[in-house]
C-alpha cells in the first residue's frame, strides 16, 4: 500500500469535522474489507484515512418512533446476531449471512457494503424492497434520503466528500412487511452473487398489497422491477402469479455477460429467484400469523 496518514475518529462529530477538513483527500475506513483491497491495488490514493471503526454510536440497532435504525457500522455478524433484526427483519439476516465468510462478516459493515455501490452487494436488495432510508451527516448537518438515491452507478454513490453515512432506517409502516432475500452464487460460501433478489409485500385478504421487488447484479446498481410489481398489485396470491412475476422481472433485468455467468443465465436466475423470494416471504407471513394466533 502507498503511504497515507491515519487518524482514528473519537466520535461522530470528530469524524465529520475531520472529513470536512480534508474533503476529497480523505477516505473513510469502516471495516476495511473493501477499502484495504482497493488501497492495495492503488484504486484510491488518499492522503489520509479517517478510521471510524471505533464509533460505537454507529453500531446500535434499535427501534425508535419512526422505525428501525441500523447503525452504519453494524457488521454483518452483528446483524445476524441481533435479536431485533432476527425477529423483525429475517430477510436481512439471510442477506448478511450470505456475505463472504465469517472473517469478512466480522469486520465488514452494512454502511461499507452500501457505499461500495457494487451491483452485486448483498445488503441492497432486501433494503430496497423495504424502501429503506439512509441518514447522512456532514458539516452542513444531517439529511435523509431513500437508499435508492444513494446508488448512482457501479462504485459511485451520490455521497460528496465530507459525507458520512450514519444509519439505515426502515420506516415503521414497513417493519411488519413480510420480506425475503435470495442469492445465487457459484459456491455456498465466499462467493459474490450472480443474481440476488429482495421481495416484500403486504397481504390484503389473500391479495398482494404494495409488492416490491429488487434485483441485484443484473444492472449498474440494485434496481426495482416495476412491471412485475404492477402485475402483482391487488392480484390473488398464488404460485402461478409468483412465477409470472418472476418471468416479467427477468425482462426488466439488464444483465451483462462476464466470466462468472452469461446474461441469459442471469435472466433465468432472476425468474427463479423472484419466484422463490415471493414464496419465502409468503411462508414467513404464514409462520408469523401462526405464531401470533398461538
Amino acid at each position: 500500500m502507498k503511504a497515507f496518514g491515519y487518524v482514528s475518529a473519537k466520535d461522530v462529530a470528530h469524524a465529520v469535522a475531520l472529513l470536512g477538513e480534508h474533503g476529497a483527500k480523505a477516505k473513510i475506513l469502516a471495516g476495511g474489507t473493501d477499502l484495504l483491497v482497493e488501497l492495495k491495488h492503488a484504486v484510491h490514493n488518499p492522503e489520509i484515512i479517517v478510521d471510524i471503526s471505533r464509533l460505537s454510536e454507529l453500531k446500535t440497532i434499535a427501534v425508535a418512533d419512526d422505525g428501525l435504525h441500523i447503525g452504519a457500522l453494524a457488521t454483518h455478524g452483528d446483524i445476524m446476531n441481533s435479536s431485533i433484526i432476527r425477529d423483525m427483519f429475517p430477510a436481512m439476516v439471510d442477506a448478511a449471512h450470505s456475505i463472504g465468510a465469517a472473517q469478512t462478516r466480522n469486520l465488514g459493515t452494512l454502511g461499507g457494503n452500501l457505499v461500495t455501490c457494487v451491483p452485486s452487494m448483498d445488503s441492497g436488495p432486501a433494503l430496497i424492497a423495504l424502501e429503506a432510508l439512509v441518514t447522512v451527516a456532514s458539516s452542513a448537518g444531517r439529511r435523509q434520503m431513500p437508499l435508492g438515491e444513494l446508488f448512482v452507478s457501479p462504485r459511485k454513490t451520490s455521497l460528496k466528500p465530507g459525507d458520512l453515512l450514519v444509519d439505515i432506517v426502515i420506516a415503521k409502516q414497513n417493519l411488519s412487511k413480510p420480506a425475503a432475500f435470495e442469492k445465487f452464487g457459484l459456491r455456498k460460501g465466499q462467493a459474490l452473487a450472480l443474481v440476488n433478489v429482495g421481495a416484500a409485500f403486504f397481504i390484503d385478504k389473500g391479495n398482494f398489497l404494495c409488492p416490491r421487488i429488487a434485483l441485484g447484479a443484473v444492472a449498474p446498481t440494485v434496481i426495482r422491477a416495476p412491471k412485475a410489481e404492477a402485475y402483482l398489485e391487488g392480484r390473488k396470491i398464488s404460485a402461478e402469479a409468483m412465477a409470472e412475476a418472476g418471468r416479467i422481472a427477468a425482462t426488466e433485468a439488464k444483465p451483462i455477460s462476464d466470466f462468472r455467468a452469461s446474461a441469459d443465465y442471469r435472466r433465468d436466475l432472476v425468474a427463479v429467484l423472484v419466484k422463490r423470494a415471493l414464496a419465502s416471504a409468503q411462508a414467513r407471513a404464514a409462520a408469523k400469523q401462526k405464531e401470533l394466533a398461538a
Binding site: A3, G5, T33, L36, V37, A102, Q103, T104
Partner: protein, 171 residues
C-alpha cells in the same frame, strides 16, 4: 507513524509503525509471530486468520491501527509448553492437515466457533471454515477434527479440570 499497543496472546505489546501497516505485517515483522501466513493478501484465503476481541478476522485486511487497544490471539497463543490445545490435539489425531500452511487460520476459525458453540452441527462447522482455503486436504478430515475437538472440550468443561490449562504460552 501510528503508535499501537495491544494485548497479543495475553502479553501487552507496543510498536510504532507506518499507518499503512496491516495487522498481519505487524504480527509477522514487528513481533516475529509468523504463525499467521500471508496467502492471497485480499481476504479470500484465510491463511492470515487471527482472533481479535473474540472474533475471527483476516489480519491482512485490518490496519495495525484498527487493532490498537484490542485483544489479539494468534496460533502461537493456543498451546502451552506442556499441552497442545484440544483443537490441536484433535487435528493431530485425525490427520486433518497435510502441508499445514492453512492450519493456523483453520484452527483459529475453529476456535472462534467453539468458543461460542461447543456442539456445532456439520453445517455450522462448514460455515465457520468457509473462509479458509486448503489446497491439500479436501476438508473432510478437518470437519471431523472440529467435531472431535468439540467433544474433547465438552468433556473438559464437564469434568471441570482443576489443573486448568493455561490459555497462553509463555515465550
Amino acid at each position: 507513524m501510528t503508535d499501537v499497543t495491544m494485548t497479543i496472546n495475553g502479553q501487552t505489546r507496543s510498536a510504532s509503525v507506518p499507518p499503512e501497516t496491516t495487522l498481519l505485517q505487524l504480527l509477522r515483522e514487528n513481533f516475529n509471530l509468523t504463525g499467521a501466513k500471508l496467502g492471497c493478501d485480499v481476504g479470500d484465503c484465510g491463511a492470515c486468520t487471527v482472533i481479535v476481541d473474540g472474533q475471527a478476522v483476516n489480519s491482512c485486511l485490518m490496519l495495525a491501527g484498527q487493532a490498537d487497544g484490542r485483544q489479539v490471539l494468534t496460533i502461537e497463543g493456543l498451546a502451552s509448553r506442556e499441552h497442545l490445545h484440544p483443537i490441536q490435539k484433535a487435528f493431530e489425531n485425525s490427520g486433518a492437515l497435510q502441508c499445514g500452511f492453512c492450519g493456523p487460520g483453520v484452527l483459529l476459525s475453529a476456535k472462534a466457533l467453539l468458543d461460542d458453540n461447543l456442539d456445532p452441527s456439520t453445517q455450522e462447522i462448514r460455515d465457520a471454515l468457509s473462509g479458509n482455503l486448503c489446497r491439500c486436504t479436501g476438508y473432510t478430515k478437518m470437519i471431523e477434527a472440529v467435531q472431535e475437538a468439540a467433544r474433547l472440550l465438552r468433556e473438559e468443561s464437564r469434568t471441570q479440570l482443576t489443573h486448568a490449562r493455561p490459555e497462553v504460552a509463555t515465550p
